[in-house]
């Protein structure tokens, strides 16, 4: 197994805010690796450091065996990036945007022209190659940016929130592209996302990141198995009483959270009637009850005690306070 990325104790501080806090991980070549977490968890900061856009405060990072601090250009030549925010020149055509990129990376013109055509066909934009980017939809722009990121044949591709703000159909389409890319070209792909489904469907391994720390790292399957089977969620005004009542050996784990009891157990279908009987016997009201297979959302909840959306709200609050301290607004 060849290591594409090696990160050790990587840390980044902005004044007193520790955006990335001593994280370490390794990514094998050809892997699709996801950094999953709420906004402000430190995903983009991590990516920026790996892509040499930001200097680490501490720790080391190697991309394709090259130290990001020692040889920026070496790293830059071997990676492709699709940023979270659009970075196309809207007044140029799709082809011109590609051409500009190819020239910046000093790809000889004959190879450059061949690759541009090939990649525009891959992302199904060849028919629109001479149209000004301004006329493109969000999904088309993303596809163009991915094609552009691949033009200089990087061995590692960074995708920062690749499907943010896209409609579900386009999102599905992009996922297929990304999966195909990894399969056919053997490119290592690192993506950040706060969409559970995206991480689940695309990634070979997922690092769940929160407050700058990696709190779990495994395959999506293992992460979900770690929860201990299925998940039953009971909504009730008296959650504490429910927890008290359900002291059964076949329950692996129980958390209360916002008027809900989240129970992890094997074979939920078989135990559901017992659970309901026990609760009803003590005359505890139930507003609703549901069973589902565990998702990465449940994994995040089990590690942090919060859902990703709640965590986002509180992180935003922390950042706002931090900004105030820094004298901004």
């Amino acid at each position: 197994m060849t290591i594409a990325i090696h990160v050790e104790n990587l840390t980044r501080r902005f004044n007193d805010l520790v955006a990335v806090d001593h994280i370490s991980f390794e990514i094998a070549q050809g892997e699709i690796f996801g950094l999953l977490g709420p906004n402000g968890a430190g995903k983009t900061t991590t990516l920026s450091m790996l892509a040499t856009m930001l200097k680490p405060s501490e720790g080391t990072a190697m991309v394709n065996g090259i130290d990001v601090e020692r040889d920026e250009d070496g790293v830059r030549r071997s990676i492709g990036i699709v940023f979270q925010d659009q970075s196309l020149d809207e007044e140029l055509t799709a082809w011109e945007n590609m051409d500009f990129h190819g020239r910046l990376y000093r790809i000889p013109s004959d190879i450059r022209n061949l690759r541009i055509d090939e990649l525009l066909k891959l992302v199904e934009l060849f028919d629109r190659k001479d149209d000004i980017v301004k006329t493109f939809s969000g999904g088309m722009r993303r596809r163009l940016e991915i094609a552009r990121g691949l033009l200089h044949h990087p061995s590692v591709l960074f995708l920062d929130e690749p499907t943010l703000g896209l409609d579900p159909q386009t999102r599905n389409h992009l996922w297929q592209y990304i999966a195909t890319l990894s399969r056919e070209k053997g490119i290592t792909i690192i993506l950040t996302t706060h969409y559970m489904e995206e991480a689940d469907r695309l990634c070979n391994r997922v690092a769940i990141i929160d407050h700058g720390k990696i709190i779990a790292l495994d395959t999506p399957g293992n992460l979900k198995d770690g929860i201990g089977g299925d998940v039953i969620t009971i909504k009730s005004p008296e959650t504490a009483k429910i927890v008290e009542t359900l002291k059964e050996p076949w329950i692996n784990r129980m958390d209360t959270h916002e008027g809900e009891v989240v129970i992890s157990l094997r074979n939920a279908e078989q135990h559901l009637s017992t659970i309901v009987t026990l609760i009803v016997a003590r005359q505890i009201p139930i507003s609703s009850i549901s069973i589902h297979k565990p998702t990465l959302e449940d994994v995040f909840l089990s590690f942090t005690g919060k859902t990703i959306r709640e965590q986002e709200a509180s992180t935003t609050e922390i950042m706002r306070q931090q900004m105030k301290k820094m004298g901004r607004h």
Binding site: A51, G74, D85, S87, L88, D89, L92, R103, L104, R148
Partner: protein, 249 residues
């Protein structure tokens, strides 16, 4: 060189496509030329500089057109920053100096083309080119103004967060540079306190240089003009490159 050319090429493509911007930036110097020129031609008498105010004004308007276009081209980096395109160039394996020089070359070319348009339009309203070398000297000064002030724009853009300060810069920096430069009036006949201020304005030397080239007469020795505006251009390019290196994204 190839990277500088790449970035220059992008500027050119954008320039050619922005018809409204081309016309927009010709309009102001052209209107100045028409309204001030024809309006004041009969009442203004310039001792020792020929009788014709329009002839006197043309070099100033050419310089104005180069000045405004070049500063504007430099400041456009902020747009690239806001619309994200700057990231694309900054993360490529190229040096910041190459990017900055490419941007400067692009801005200066655009500015000189705009200046030439005013020059050509001036031929229609009475400018007669004295000598071919003189015409080339004028273009040389336009190039220096173009490079110097694009770099100046880049320096400003590198230290600005967004376009909010743009109006302020235009009103309190660029317009005084233009107003004090002797583009509109002969500096030799200014009141005593104002004279030295115009001599601190680098554009004064640019205007005088162009004037020397086009009309054969100038109030400052053209060699001094060349030395000052040349020095300004070199210094601005160095400062612009230094500040551009520090842009964080």
């Amino acid at each position: 060189m190839d990277i500088i050319y790449t970035i220059w090429l992008r500027s050119m493509k954008r320039f050619i496509r922005s018809k409204s911007r081309i016309i927009g930036s010709i309009a102001m110097p052209l209107f100045f030329l028409l309204f001030l020129g024809f309006g004041l031609n009969s009442v203004v008498n310039l001792p020792g500089l020929g009788e014709n105010y329009i002839q006197f004004l043309i070099p100033g308007m050419v310089a104005m057109s180069v000045l405004f276009t070049s500063v504007f081209s430099g400041i456009q980096i902020i747009w690239d920053k806001q619309f994200g395109f700057l990231k694309e160039t900054l993360v490529a394996p190229v040096t910041r100096l190459e990017i900055m020089l490419g941007q400067t070359a692009g801005g200066a070319t655009t500015a000189v083309i705009q200046g030439l348009m005013i020059l050509i339009l001036s031929l229609l309203i009475g400018l007669s080119i004295q000598t071919i070398p003189g015409f080339l000297i004028a273009i040389g000064f336009m190039v220096l103004i173009g490079i110097g002030f694009t770099a100046f724009g880049i320096a400003i853009a590198s230290s600005m967060e967004d376009m909010n300060g743009f109006q302020l810069i235009m009103n309190f920096v660029i317009f005084p540079i233009f107003g004090l430069s002797g583009a509109l009036f002969p500096i030799s006949s200014l009141p005593g306190w104002l004279g030295p201020i115009t001599m601190l304005d680098p554009l004064t030397y640019g205007v005088e240089g162009i004037r020397y080239g086009l009309t054969g007469v100038s109030q400052i020795n053209p060699v001094i003009c060349f030395a000052v505006i040349g020095g300004f251009t070199v210094a601005m390019t160095a400062i612009g490159a230094y500040l551009f290196r520090k842009i964080a994204i």
